[in-house]
Symmetry: C2
Subunit: 396 residues, 2 copies
């Protein structure tokens, strides 16, 4: 890339400001979500480590295996791309990432500085390897620093979140229709997955739907639906089964979609005609609470205020034993980012933050459960619902 | 469960024999693949840690968040299930996993013993937390011990691998048909995903297709297809694009499927009518090599022998600059387990081992690439192809 990509990415400036404030001279990251955040590159598979080195001033360096060079250059926004390993005739810095990383840190004068590495994500063996490569450096935990910067989304992330949310809405509409037509949990999953894949394959040429791989594999598609009916709603997350909901069931549909590395979540409760009054009452309580707290989704409001109101209303409605631990969370590169709408998280809403809003009830002794979640962006003067599919009481 | 589940799981005996040999008194694992291996439980989401404690003698203990108790009991094979956290009226050992883990280690007399934790997977912060919970214990790296035990699959794992391979075959057949019908990369992905989902939703009531979640999300379906056409084959792994292969293209189809936590891989190269002679020659070379080395997939043969023969034949055929780093890997709970069919891995084939076999060529300066992979089980007297879909030269 010939343009100054760094200037286009406010997140690099945010990270560097936070590094300066904390006395961190460079970040070295192996965490897939974070190497993507700082480079724009997701190879899906991480068996060969992808490493980003971000100094406190200047542009990031992306270090990849030789076989990922072309891919990294096409997809990422980093000019300074280095390679390790042996692959065909590609020139590299050496056969091993360890040697290459050491050379880069020495070259940038970082080998006796303070280097931030995520202690909550970096395996202890790898942490010790970095220590041994630069024994005069001090390693500091950068987990919270990066998590905090991720709270505010960049314009490209917001644009992708809108696309992910639209995919999730399409998946939701297809799942609701399939349940209404008498399908099983799995029929709804398959219909929903097909609807999302069909939209992607026809209409989203520039959108990748890959998620981030783990230690032994990769997630080449992150368009996920799961459906849990009746008391299976208490599982929260599970593979769906071949079960047709009964006429007295409530049924939860969960959709997670991803577009160019950014997630959206859309979750709805569908009820059938004979659902007991206790379920309807719980849903009404939740919908009333949503009406009350949604207008509070705006700059300046502490996350905890929404939680405290929810808790108060649930107690007033008789659900004092069923208070959820949180009523939402930050979302973006992670389906579950690390800040919660709970009673203790000390964050105030700002434009560019993105949350799921999901006050919900689980009342096992009444076999009552609700699941409604939207992905919501905080704007300059309020909020924007990114997920727009039919909310409220969905009776089929 | 009332039966002695441990007796049904040879893997627990293998692990305990290895622990005795290495002087490890207990394993404590947080790694999703390994907590599943030792408990049978995959909650998909791991935001609340799932922990298995396996002493050198006796049964494992499974420690989960209160909201996963019912799920863990239904799905896992561990009798001793403990809970932490606060959820509804469930009794737990305390609000935090740290307190519960400490109590369990003290109760079992392990707090001053040698405890194995995976250094290649456990975040440094969590490793240090375990150290602080049992300061008189010695933490040892158990990564390789567990990886070695995973080399031999248990009967239940083999049964699930056959189902995963059959799903992958169905996905492959659908993708080949879609490309033959003139579809784009993504059309083939969508058709393949639909075929796998349709078989699962109708015919596999007892099979979960969830993969293992990471630090910020989960993979509720691990039925993955990706298609790379023409020079995009050099990417190895990437999200597919809206591109219809040209008549002179080779095209790689990659399928990964999972059944109850066990993966299979099926990868094929499809060529179109006008594909250059260089591609045909490369494919013939690879198919000839496969003919020669497939009969060597049997007990007693060192993995490296297959690699050395492949290397020799590639050199003889003029591909001395294009020798792959490996020609396959172990597979099972991981799509990419940790042993390679390469020149240095010191493993001899035994019954119950499961490999991908994938000698392949990448010749960038000729724009030539091949991709063929099968999942193969080593049996008492030879091997069994788990993936059975049309191999060889697929011309459409």
């Amino acid at each position: 890339m010939s343009i100054d990509a760094t200037a286009l990415r406010p997140r690099i400036s945010r990270l560097q400001a936070a590094m300066a404030a904390e006395g961190i001279d460079a970040l070295v990251s192996f965490k897939p979500e974070h190497t993507f955040y700082m480079s724009g590159f997701n190879p899906v598979l991480y068996s060969h480590p992808v490493i980003v080195i971000l100094p406190a001033k200047g542009a990031p360096t992306l270090l990849v295996h030789a076989l990922r060079v072309a891919h990294g250059r096409d997809e990422g926004f980093v000019d300074d791309l280095r390679a390790y390993g042996v692959w065909s005739t590609t020139q590299t810095m050496g056969p091993k990432w360890e040697d290459a990383l050491q050379q880069i840190l020495i070259e940038k004068g970082l080998d006796s500085k303070t280097i931030g590495v995520e202690a909550d994500a970096t395996p202890v063996a790898r942490w010790k390897t970095v220590e041994s490569l630069v024994p005069s450096a001090t390693l500091a935990d950068s987990s919270k620093l990066i998590d905090r910067c991720r709270l505010i989304k960049d314009p490209d992330e917001i644009a992708n979140a809108r696309i992910a949310a639209d995919l999730a809405d399409r998946g939701m509409n297809a799942a609701v229709a399939e349940l209404a037509a008498g399908g099983t949990e799995r029929d709804a999953v398959a219909a929903s997955t097909k609807a999302m894949n069909d939209h992607w394959r026809k209409h989203l040429p520039d959108i990748e739907v890959a998620d981030f791989g783990g230690l032994e594999g990769g997630a080449v598609s992150g368009l996920y639906t799961w459906v849990l009916s009746g008391e299976r709603m208490f599982r929260n997350c599970d593979n769906s089964i071949i079960r047709k909901p009964e006429s007295h069931d409530a049924c939860a549909i969960f959709i997670w979609a991803i577009a160019n590395g950014i997630h959206a979540e859309n979750e709805r409760t569908v009820i059938f005609s004979d659902v007991p009054e206790a379920n309807r009452a719980a849903l009404k309580t939740i919908l009333d609470i949503r009406e009350e707290i949604i207008p509070m989704m705006k700059p300046g409001v502490p996350l905890a205020e929404l939680y405290h109101i929810t808790k108060r209303r649930l107690i007033e409605a008789g659900y004092e034993k069923n208070i959820p631990g949180r009523i939402g969370h930050t979302i973006g590169i992670g389906a579950h980012e690390h800040y919660s709408l709970d009673g203790v998280t000390d964050v105030i809403m700002e434009p560019g933050m993105m949350f799921t809003l999901e006050p919900n009830l689980r009342v096992p002794d009444q076999n009552v459960s609700t699941q409604i979640s939207d992905t919501i962006l905080i704007t300059e003067d309020g909020h924007e619902f990114l997920t727009k599919s039919l909310g409220g009481l969905i009776e089929v």
